[in-house]
């Protein structure tokens, strides 16, 4: 029984957690990819900025959390979301729009996004340093242990408060996004523009507004993902590249320009990662009596060693690109 609980803790819970993070990142990335037609390399750094902004506000108002009984970092989430949303639009005006107006190929926007990525990285690390930061230096992280009513189990299912908040926030964000995309004119216009930008233009859709809205949504969700990830583990200023690949893998698996696909893709990548680095020999151990003696169960039996975790999204990406470049939700191939 303990082994199963271990599996739940290590795979189901961590898979959901990291999957939610990837989903929050991938939705924004896929919207930008679908509407502006370029892979925004600065996306993961928008997440870092969100977490950093929340951290700054936590240091200014350290007591804010205890007022409402939630972690202070989480209370600062809306601030971070608004900040990054505005920043994204500002970045678009400064660096991407001038290029779009010159009608350059979208790939040059990708090059520009690399420039933006490096600028953000440089600034964040200049002001925040390169060392990892904790949100929970002053407060205690609530940990919930769920005991299972089985005789054989001595271990508990462990889930922390930030993890619960993360799952709830993700669900709320996705619900709001769904309402926006299917229930409002701007949301529908956004989907329309992602579907067929030329037709959107001649239909009279205000593409400028759609672009701004896209950036705001991407920024908001990126900030949410960044803050929640940092609350769960730690704020690392150099997370960028390690997040970028799974996020784009998720976006492409889901189908470019398909926000729902991106959510599914994020969870898929998250779960696959957890399954791949899970030590399967733990599940085999209870079976030891039934396994012939000459088969020795190694102490470690994982698909991918933890240090090669980044291989997982890469393999998913390549497999999807070879077998089904439109992704599972039939997105565009750009």
């Amino acid at each position: 029984m303990n082994e199963l609980i271990f599996f739940i803790n290590k795979v189901i819970i961590s898979g959901t957690i990291i999957g939610c993070i990837y989903a929050l990142g991938a939705v924004g990335a896929t919207l930008v990819f679908g509407i502006l037609r370029f892979a925004n390399f600065a996306h993961a750094d928008m997440m870092t900025v969100g977490a950093f902004v929340a951290l700054v506000f936590v240091s200014w108002f350290p007591g804010a959390g205890s007022v409402v009984g939630l972690p202070t970092g989480f209370v600062m989430l809306p601030v971070a979301m608004v900040f990054v949303a505005i920043m994204s639009v500002a970045l678009d005006r400064m660096f991407y729009r001038p290029l779009r107006e010159r009608n350059v190929k979208p790939i040059l926007l990708l090059v520009a996004s690399i420039g933006v990525m490096l600028m953000i990285q440089g600034l964040v690390r200049l002001f925040a340093g390169t060392a990892p930061r904790h949100f929970f230096s002053a407060e205690k992280k609530d940990i919930f242990r769920i005991e299972l009513p089985f005789e054989l189990s001595t271990r508990d299912i462990v889930i922390t408060e930030p993890q619960i908040l993360l799952i709830i926030t993700t669900i709320v964000c996705i619900f709001c996004l769904h309402r926006f995309l299917t229930g409002t004119r701007l949301g529908k216009a956004m989907r329309a523009m992602s579907d067929n930008p030329d037709l959107a233009l001649i239909t009279g859709i205000n593409t400028d507004r759609v672009v701004s809205a896209t950036w705001m949504i991407a920024g908001t969700l990126a900030a949410a993902g960044g803050v929640l990830l940092s609350l769960d583990v730690i704020l690392k200023p150099d997370l960028s590249f390690n997040l970028l690949l799974p996020i784009f893998a998720a976006a492409i698996v889901g189908g470019v320009g398909r926000p729902y696909g991106a959510i599914a893709g994020g969870l898929l990548v998250g779960f696959t990662e957890s399954l791949a680095i899970f030590n399967w020999s733990i599940l085999l151990r209870p079976l030891a009596p039934y396994i012939p003696d000459w088969v020795e169960i190694p102490s470690k039996l994982a698909f991918v060693p933890t240090e090669y975790k980044i291989v997982v999204p890469f393999v998913i990406l390549i497999v999807v690109l070879i077998w089904r470049p439109t992704g599972i939700f039939r997105g565009q191939v750009l």
């Binding site: 004119r185 329309a192 579907d195 037709l199 233009l201 001649i202 009279g204 398909r258």
Partner: protein
């Protein structure tokens, strides 16, 4: 009009004029500049020389998306729907520039294209070719245009659908909308045309009523396959 995509102009002097509620059909061999003429009228290609007048106003320099607001609907030849949006949403997108209540226009559109009504909540990309064409035309009708520009609305459709679409085009025209169609099915299209424009080599070759053109042995031999 003289226009093109840079370099040698494709249109080398084309005149097209149409009255309200009439159907104009542009026919001609491949490469005659039929689609280019339509795009030039809608402003997707800027003119090198000449003018575009709509209701007596010069709109030569008005951007295409603004022409929609003036009452010109344009249906491109391909990629003319939003495939992942529902039929209803496609129509709503057509009305994106309207701030008033347009639900009656949607109802009217469903009257013109009854098959769409049952499919209003399905994704437009899942529909058959003919139904997609209906969605595309319906979307352009949402601004209640006074002029509708259709670029080969029957291309790739089975003959039954071709007849269907052409009949609906006539019924739209009867409601007072001027329609300018570029058509490969020249004979069929000229049958319903009030005015036919035969283009070749980027120039007007013949302009006459559809009936006269159909009966003109010269036109018949060169462009209607005998």
């Amino acid at each position: 009009m003289v226009s093109g995509y840079g370099g040698e102009p494709i249109l080398q002097g084309v005149d097209i004029a149409l009255e309200a509620g009439r159907i104009g059909v542009i026919v001609g061999p491949n490469g005659a500049g039929k689609s280019t003429a339509l795009k030039s009228l809608f402003g997707l290609i800027s003119l090198d020389q000449g003018r575009v007048l709509f209701d007596g106003t010069d709109i030569t320099l008005v951007a295409p998306d603004k022409r929609v607001g003036l009452g010109i609907g344009y249906v491109p030849q391909e990629m003319n729907i939003f495939p992942s949006l529902t039929v209803q949403e496609n129509l709503e997108m057509g009305a994106i520039i309207r701030d008033d209540d347009f639900s009656h226009v949607i109802d009217q559109t469903f009257e013109i294209f009854p098959p769409l009504k049952d499919k209003r909540y399905s994704e437009a990309g899942q529909l058959s070719g003919g139904q997609r064409q209906m969605v595309a035309i319906g979307r352009a009708l949402m601004v209640e245009p006074r002029l509708l520009l259709l670029d080969e609305p029957t291309v790739g459709l089975s003959p039954a659908f071709v007849q269907d679409i052409i009949e609906r085009i006539t019924s739209i025209a009867r409601s007072g909308v001027g329609i300018l169609v570029v058509e490969q099915n020249a004979r069929r299209a000229l049958e319903i045309a009030d005015t036919g424009f035969v283009l070749a080599g980027g120039k007007n070759l013949y302009t006459d009523t559809g009936e006269n053109l159909l009966n003109d042995p010269e036109v018949a031999r060169s462009f209607l396959g005998g």
